[in-house]
């Protein structure tokens, strides 16, 4: 999934996978924080955004 998206030009760091058990609340918080930071760092995406139906 990740590989082909990145291969076709989606920046690495936009798509993340993680395995978190329902008991691992702290891991969840950490991961979400980290992802949010990484994605913010990439700025708003211009790619893969559909504009033709935005009135």
């Amino acid at each position: 999934m990740k590989n082909l998206l990145e291969h076709t030009g989606i920046e690495p760091g936009r798509l993340h996978f993680s395995w978190i058990s329902s008991a691992e609340s702290t891991k969840f918080v950490d991961v979400v924080k980290k992802i949010t930071e990484e994605v913010k760092a990439l700025a708003e995406t211009k790619k893969y955004v559909k504009t033709s139906t935005q009135g």
Binding site: M1, K2, N3, L4, L5, E6, H7, T8, G9, I10, E11, P12, H16, F17, S18, W19, V31, K34, K47, Y48, V49, K50, S52, T53
Partner: protein, 315 residues
């Protein structure tokens, strides 16, 4: 390769005469150059229509999906690999098939040949390794190796992987070819360049879905692009929707694609749609050591779980 024609006719006629199969699926000569047409025959008399040359590039496995008859089928290396996948995926049973294996030396790229000449090509002949094209006021000799389909040039499974009989001696498999050269080229680009590369690649796609429909793997009763409840993807020419189609088509072929090139051949716009599927083929090979359709005895890579499957994408 044309010597196979006689043998194919002979086998087909025998199978039908003896009642071993209900139909034989093969190719007949098309009405325009480089375009042979898949057909079925049901009587020995029709066997004369069957032919073989370097324009039999479509994948005949596409025509046996969910059929109930006993079928004789002409199959080159890639067709046979898709027959294997069909058998694994219960789209046909091994017992229903009599596979007439064709050791293959590659198919001619019709898009490439047409692009080489400004004028219309009205005839094409081949003998051995040379191809002669001609038209109004010109004629030109080409080496077959120069005009092979890209997937054929890099093919390492030219001989059928399963068959009941062969129409000729097995051919040597190619070694030292790199089927993934173009994937590597894209891999070395920046995200921006990659994005633009694929934007340009599919810019003239008309969403006819010939690439999907020519593919033996695409047999879902309703394709996700055709679903309307819910509608997963828009139907217009919006580039986002076009790209979504291409990405998802590729994902659905992951670990199943034999790189037969039928999609690319079928595309009326000459789009190199294999650039999507090839990346996944390469990943399957590198991550799981898997190539699709080589044996009916193993479950596909994406169909199994092993404790040592690579998982460094999970953080």
């Amino acid at each position: 390769m044309t010597a196979y024609t006689d043998k194919i006719r002979q086998i087909a006629s025998k199978l039908l005469t003896e009642g071993k199969v209900d139909m034989v699926i093969g190719f007949r000569k098309g009405s325009i150059p480089m375009m042979n047409q898949p057909l079925f025959i049901k009587t020995p008399g029709e066997a004369q229509e069957l032919i073989w040359d370097s324009h039999c590039a479509l994948n005949l496995a596409n025509y046996v999906t969910n059929r109930k008859e006993k079928i004789g089928i002409v199959a080159k290396g890639c067709d046979s690999r898709n027959l294997v996948t069909h058998i694994i995926e219960n789209k046909i049973t091994r017992e229903q098939l009599h596979i007439i294996g064709v050791p293959c030396t590659g198919m001619v790229d019709r898009h490439k040949v047409s692009a080489m000449i400004e004028a219309e090509i009205t005839a094409i002949e081949e003998s051995g390794d040379s191809i002669k094209i001609s038209g109004n006021g010109f004629s030109k000799e080409l080496k077959k190796t120069e005009v092979l389909q890209e997937n054929c040039a890099g093919c390492t499974h030219r001989n059928p992987v399963i068959y009941d009989e062969l129409v000729g001696e097995l051919v040597p498999e190619q070694s030292g070819v790199d089927p993934y050269a173009s994937v590597r080229e894209v891999e070395s680009m920046s995200p921006e360049e990659k994005w633009n590369y694929f934007e340009d690649l599919i810019s003239n796609c008309i969403r006819c879905y010939a690439c999907r429909n020519a593919c033996p793997l695409c047999y879902c009763p309703t394709c996700f692009v055709d679903e309307s409840r819910p509608q997963w993807v828009g139907k217009s020419q919006d580039p986002t929707d076009v790209r979504t189609f291409h990405l998802l088509r590729a994902y659905h072929c992951a670990g199943r694609c034999s790189d037969c090139g039928a999609c690319e051949r079928a595309c009326p716009m000459g789009i190199k749609v294999r650039e999507f599927t090839k990346k996944l083929n390469k990943d399957c090979l590198e991550l799981y050591g898997w190539e699709a359709g080589l044996t009916v005895d193993a479950r596909p890579a994406l169909d199994t779980f092993k404790a040592d499957d690579p998982q460094d994408f999970i953080k």
